[in-house]
Amino acid sequence: MSIKEIAESRVIDLGDSVLRQLKGLGDFTNFTLKTIFWTFKPPFRLKLLFEQMYFMGNKSVFIIFLTSIFTGAVFAFQIYLGFKAINADSFIGPIVTIALAKELAPVLSGLVVAGRCGAAMAAQIGSMKVTEQIDALEVMGINSYQYLAVPRILGAMLSMPLLSGIFLLIGYWGSWLIGVKVIQIDEMMYTQKIGEFMNLGMVAEGIIKATVFGYLIGIIGTYQGFNVTGGAEGVGKGTNMAVVWGMITVLVVDFFLTSFLAKIL
């Protein structure tokens, strides 16, 4: 094969790849618009929404509990190790709480939910797709986006702030255990300092982020499920993509959201 032919082949491959990415982007946009349209169209399926909230919220609580208590405790301990050298260990409380409220609670809850619920959404919808259950819904005249995607997306949007709130409270408790009970910082000082440095804007930032992450995890998980092709292998691939893209999206969007919210809050 000549150099010219190799170069031509590379250009063709690149073109194919770009076209595939553009098609994927178009499909995702189309899916997003459809789910938004069907969110506001009756019937409003509140029972399905509560079922999804129960699944995502209640069943993620234990793993959120474990993640948050150790995150709060370890973070408090690390700050103590750094700050005691400059006699600033009384600042452990506000630093941990602010970090939890603005970043750690929404982001780590997002990663947990993307791993647990994003994967479950893709697997459930994907297996329904390959066994023609989605076709069965459509033939009955039921919109599959409205029946399957909308409750999951809204469920994730509503569950995420609650899980993030739980993360914040338990994480604070973990840091309090280390700060007050282990390191023996005065309890009054520990909590008073939090009151001095924290404000409602910081809590709002966490809630906004958690809601946005919930939406992104929901839309990515359901999109991957609806786009499953083939059999069991396709379901596995879709599930994997839901987790990978869910986690990457949470981390990337967090950066831009932080920059944006810093200007308005």
Binding site: T131, Q133, M140, G141, I142, N143
Partner: protein, 248 residues
């Protein structure tokens, strides 16, 4: 409403990319009869069925179902219109998170104002008519055999008293005895509802069962209708493609 046909195709063409999947089809499916659409794999049978349901739209031509040109209907009208159909899928496509009973009750809960007592009465009647016991009604699809799943799928398809029943390869994956049991059930269902112009459309490549249970046969090859005949005339067809199929 057309007395003769439940479904009509007029100059129907479907093209996917460079491939012509359906090539200028012009025929009607007789009202109140069992019609089987027969053909080799890739003949365009499933695409044709999706046109009847309005899941795929024609590139050219019209699909007329119960006197409605369905490719002229909007999205919401089409969803409403699909309640005229019942469908049994190749592998039943029962909702795996619901029991047999709940699968059959599903369309009734979605589309009727029946209370739970009325739904129970209707569902148990439908399940009994397809030979599903009250014990099996409580089971999930994963706990049922292939034949039982097809029966529950048939009961679900009949729940809203459809005008047209579609069967997509209804016996694929079943043993010969169960295949004939399922066909008997389909024929009995048809006969019970015949008085109201109930039309059964079967997509199949099972030639022997087709000859035994159908009133009409549409034979397709490469997106075209080779023959559309009543079953007795079909058996005598001299068309070489059909002869080859009959001799399998």
């Amino acid at each position: 409403m057309s007395e003769k046909y439940s479904v009509e195709f007029r100059n129907l063409v479907k093209v996917f990319g460079d491939s012509v999947i359906l090539d200028n089809l012009n025929f009607g499916i007789h009202r109140g009869k069992i019609t089987t659409i027969l053909g080799f794999s890739g003949a365009g049978k499933t695409t044709l069925m999706k046109h009847i349901l309005g899941l795929v739209m024609p590139t050219e031509g019209e699909v007329i179902v119960l006197d409605q040109v369905i490719n002229h209907l909007g999205e919401l009208e089409l969803r409403e219109f699909r309640r005229n159909f019942g469908m049994v899928f190749q592998y039943a496509a029962l909702f795996d998170f619901l029991t047999s009973y709940e699968n059959v009750a599903f369309p009734l809960r979605e589309f009727t104002k029946m209370n739970e007592d009325e739904i129970r009465e209707k569902v148990m009647g439908l399940l009994e008519s397809v030979g599903i016991s009250p014990q099996a009604a409580k089971r999930l699809p994963s706990e049922l055999s292939g034949g039982m799943r097809k029966r529950v799928g048939l009961a679900r398809g009949l729940a809203l008293d459809p005008h047209i029943m579609l069967y997509d390869e209804p016996t694929s994956g079943l043993d010969p005895i169960t295949t004939h049991t399922v066909y008997d059930l389909m024929r009995d269902t048809h006969r019970r509802n015949e008085h109201r112009g109930f039309t059964s459309i079967i997509i199949s490549h099972d030639i022997h069962a087709t000859l035994k249970y159908s009133d009409y046969i549409v034979f397709m090859e490469k997106g075209k209708v080779v023959e559309h005949l009543d079953v007795e005339t079909f058996k005598k067809s001299e068309n070489p493609v059909i002869r080859r199929f009959l001799e399998l």
